[in-house]
């Protein structure tokens, strides 16, 4: 019953954190910046809209009442209305999220693949120049400001290899003439590569380190000695035991690194004009669209909490050393 105990505790913790995040959101946007949140600064808003905002947000009521209203709205998944467009914020998030997810996933994939490669090679050639070189390169990329790396890729790589340097798709593809799904897909993938690569390069350092540690640990284990004695080649050992050892930490790391990816993707999307959640955040700041900002922030926070919880549960489930 220890297992269930643990799961319950972790879920409870996650829920509590979500609640705190929601409250923090409220405090940050309403209580502290006061009037900045009000829908009053909107040249193009109709009077009816402003009245509705005043009513819904309860801007003339006490902070406590506003807080209760806020919680009530949240429970109904009502994230408020975007000020410039007067439309529900909820709707504005869908498209950008759909745009960001594949790119972020690809970036994480790059990081895992590079990281694993470098980690394995480094562990194999432990102590040599290859090892040090690989590690320092990884650390080097890790130390680069994400937006700068993006700029560098645009400047030096994009034209050289014929990849687009901005946007999510070619604007006129499929606009006035029909285009096949395959063409559309290839177009999307082409636009996704550089932004994802930027994310991947900055991230892979950590994966490399983990894989390397896991490898080293495995390679030193007794059963490996036995396997070697039996004639099993190094590579087979690495593949069979080392990688498997590394899988779990990698998965957990993916979950944990979500917080960074989200932050990093903001500048990456800005540099590449990639219309995802990150660029939406930047634009919302520019437009002073506080309801939208609030919703984005909450979405990001809850995602991170959720993935942390997932990491916890995964680790708990799969780590053979954890006994119940």
């Amino acid at each position: 019953m220890r297992g269930a105990d643990y799961v319950v505790k972790r879920v409870a913790f996650a829920l509590l954190t979500v609640f705190i995040a929601i409250t923090l959101n409220f405090v940050l946007f309403r209580a502290l910046s006061g009037d900045a949140v009000s829908a009053l600064r909107c040249r193009q808003c109709s009077a009816a809209f402003k009245e509705a905002q005043r009513r819904d947000l309860g801007l003339d009521k006490s902070k406590w009442e506003q807080y209760t209203l806020y919680l009530r709205d949240l429970s109904r998944f009502d994230l408020g209305n975007s000020v410039p467009s007067e439309k529900p914020v909820r709707g504005e998030l869908v498209e950008p999220i759909k745009n960001s997810l594949p790119m972020i996933a690809l970036g994480t994939l790059f990081a895992i693949v590079f990281g694993t490669l470098v980690g394995v090679i480094s562990a194999w050639r432990r102590g040599t120049a290859v090892d040090k070189g690989g590690l320092y390169t990884a650390l080097g990329f890790y130390s680069m400001p994400t937006q700068w790396l993006g700029l560098m890729l645009i400047f030096f790589v994009a034209s050289a290899v014929g990849l687009p340097s901005s946007g999510i798709k070619t604007p006129t593809l499929g606009l006035f003439t029909d285009a096949s799904t395959w063409d559309l897909l290839i177009d999307r993938m082409k636009h996704m590569i550089l932004p994802a690569l930027t994310l991947g390069l900055v991230l892979y350092g950590d994966y490399a380190l983990i894989v390397r540690s896991a490898m080293l640990e495995t390679l030193g284990e007794d059963y490996v000695l036995t396997a070697r004695a039996k004639g099993l080649k190094n590579w087979a050992i690495v593949r069979r035991h080392g990688l498997r050892n590394a899988m779990l930490p990698i998965i957990t790391l993916v979950a944990l690194s979500l917080g960074f990816i989200i932050g990093g993707s903001i500048t990456v999307e800005y540099v590449f004009s990639y219309p995802g959640l990150g660029l939406l955040t930047v634009e919302a700041i520019d437009k002073r669209d506080f309801p939208l900002l609030q919703a984005i922030f909450m979405l990001l926070t809850i995602s991170v909490i959720f993935f942390n919880l997932l990491a916890d549960l995964l680790y708990f489930k799969f780590d053979p050393r954890v006994t119940t």
Binding site: R43, T116, G167, L280, E283
Partner: protein, 570 residues
């Protein structure tokens, strides 16, 4: 093996996600798509335009961006437009006559015209548009009503005859009417609502396809993405040579130029000044320059009821400060030399620009002397101090330290402009810090304050700003922005000068060109003498086009439908 499989699965998953997101890509949900395919068109016939200015709205009663104006011109019929010589030619109107007293204008419209939804386009639509705009001119339709000042009403005597009745003879009928967009009554009338408020909030761009009657219909709108203009087959005028026009918004000017030089765009509608020389070297691109209609300025909050820093209302002070702004350096650094100094609010583009203003000399020594004489002594830290005042609107003693508000959405580097202004002011012992206001809407909201609140609370939120104006050939529009009538509409200065306002009305009804010119000159002088703005520069308009296309009419942007319909592939 396992690793490879995992990678393979992951890649497929990513691909699937990418495809699922294939329906549009705009980042703020303002996306609607409709039927966009043109039978038989190859995509190379499509005119691909790249821009860093987006279309914020397709509602003529509620827009800010000039790109919106350009787009509306393409899709809505207008009575008249400019030709290549900047004279008037008919758009929907074939001909026009005036009554003897100049108060009645009769327009003969082209017959057998219809809207894109099949409904007949008749003079009744024009009459409805004009009457409705005039009816709600004090509130809902204020943004468009400026063009119809002095219009009493309009009537459609038959399907192709429109008569506009003016309350007095007006000297600039055609330039004013050129700004009017005719709307389909059957679509817009039901939206009006109480006091016409619905007209201002209706968003045609979200109800595609927009019912239009111009050279194009809009079949796809993405505010921060690509807007598609499909040629309207029943357009009454010269049809589009391109089989379609795609206007794509870029967040970064570099990307526009990069795509143009790569051949992925056919037209960059604005080349950033720092990039001009680099673009001129590109092989497959032609760079076009022509006199621009945009002026940059320092905007002074001129609301007489302003509560803070009232010393900034004094023209003498503003003039002294302006004398130490190195406009030549701004021209050099910000515009790479592609600009000239300007004094008048209407800009060099207008034939009625007053050439006798100023010029404002650049002389920091004289400015310092002037400030000393005005009684603003320097404090121990070198910053001048404003002495306390008494009486109504009394103020305590305070330093000359202000915030200058700047928007993020300018097409020139306003940060560098600010740096130069800051340096200039610093030499005079005045400290300024930059306050970034956000995009145009956000910044303007800071300037006006709450427009639905009490008037006493409006135009209190800033002291100084730096922005720009895009003027017209006829000075009427630019002269109107400092009137009380344009508060919360086009006014950013909050100026409130009754005698100016009276004179402004007068220029509108003065028919004799020479007499009108004098009034217009006088108005510009009032603005100049009061320093509602310190005009800084008037820059050249520069765009770049692909050599694969020809017959561009870059100068007619915002002046004629020919701007989009003319370019063709030889």
């Amino acid at each position: 093996m396992r690793a490879r499989r995992v990678v393979g699965v992951a890649l497929t998953a990513i691909a699937l996600m990418a495809v699922s997101g294939c329906t549009g890509g705009s980042s703020d949900g303002d996306t609607t798509g409709g039927d966009t395919s043109t039978a038989g068109a190859s995509s190379s016939d499509v005119l691909r335009i790249g821009t860093t200015n987006y279309i914020d709205s397709l509602n003529p009663f509620n827009y800010i961006e000039s790109q919106a104006y350009t787009a509306m011109m393409m899709i809505y019929p207008q009575l008249v437009q400019y030709n290549a010589d900047f004279e008037f030619e008919g758009d929907w109107a074939e001909s026009w006559t005036t009554s003897d007293d100049g108060k009645d204008w009769t327009f003969k419209l082209r017959p057998d015209t219809k809207w894109s939804d099949g409904e007949p386009m008749t003079a009744a639509d024009a009459a409805w548009t004009i009457n409705t705009t005039v009816k709600y001119k004090d509130d809902a339709t204020a943004v468009a009503a400026a063009a119809l000042a002095n219009v009493k009403n309009a009537e459609a005597t038959d399907d192709t005859t429109l008569v506009i009745h003016y309350s007095s003879a007006v000297g600039n009928v055609l330039p004013q009417l050129e700004q009017l967009f005719i709307l389909p009554e059957h679509v817009w009338a039901p939206k009006a609502g109480a006091n016409g408020k619905g007209l201002k909030t209706y968003k045609p761009e979200l109800n595609l396809p927009v019912v239009s009657g111009g050279a194009y219909t809009i079949t796809q709108y993405e505010k921060k993405g690509t807007t598609a203009f499909k040629p309207y087959p029943d357009f009454y005028g010269p049809p589009s040579h391109a089989s379609g026009v795609a206007l794509t918004f870029y967040t970064n000017a570099d990307a526009v130029i990069a795509d143009l030089t790569k051949g992925e765009l056919d037209w960059a509608d604005q080349v950033p000044f720092q990039a001009v020389n680099a673009v001129k070297k590109a092989e497959n691109v032609v760079v076009n320059e022509w006199p621009g209609s945009e002026t940059t300025n320092i905007t002074w909050n001129s609301n007489p009821a302003k509560k803070k820093n009232r010393e900034l209302l004094a023209p003498a002070l503003k003039k002294a400060l302006s004398m130490c702004v190195d406009r030549d350096q701004i021209i050099d650094v910000v515009f790479a030399g592609y600009a000239t100094k300007v004094e008048s609010i209407v800009g060099h583009i207008s034939p009625l620009e007053n050439p006798n203003l100023g010029p404002l000399e650049y002389n920091c020594a004289a400015a310092n002397t002037a400030l000393n004489k005005l009684g603003f002594k320097r404090g121990a830290d070198g910053i001048r101090v404003v002495p306390a005042t008494t009486g109504a609107n009394a103020q305590g003693e305070h330093k000359m330290s202000y915030e200058i508000l700047t928007p993020t959405s300018t097409d020139f580097n306003v940060d560098r402009s600010f740096d130069i202004v800051k340096d200039g002011f610093a030499k005079l012992g005045v400290k300024v810090t930059q306050k970034v206001g956000g995009d145009a809407t956000a910044t303007y909201a800071i300037q006006t304050g709450d427009c639905s609140g009490p008037v006493s609370e409006q135009y209190q939120g800033y002291d100084i700003a730096m922005w720009d104006w895009v003027g017209y050939l006829d000075p009427d529009f630019m002269l109107s922005v400092v009137t009380k009538g344009q508060w919360c509409s086009w006014s950013d200065t909050g100026a409130n000068n009754p005698s100016y306002d009276k004179l402004y009305v007068k220029q509108g009804v003065t028919v004799d060109p020479e007499a009108r010119k004098n009034v217009v000159y006088a108005l510009q002088k009032i603005v100049y003498d009061n320093f509602y703005y310190t005009q800084l520069t008037n820059h050249v308009a520069i765009d770049a086009t692909s050599k694969k296309w020809t017959d561009f009419e870059s100068e007619l942007g915002g002046y004629s439908k020919v701007y989009y319909t003319s370019p063709r592939q030889p």
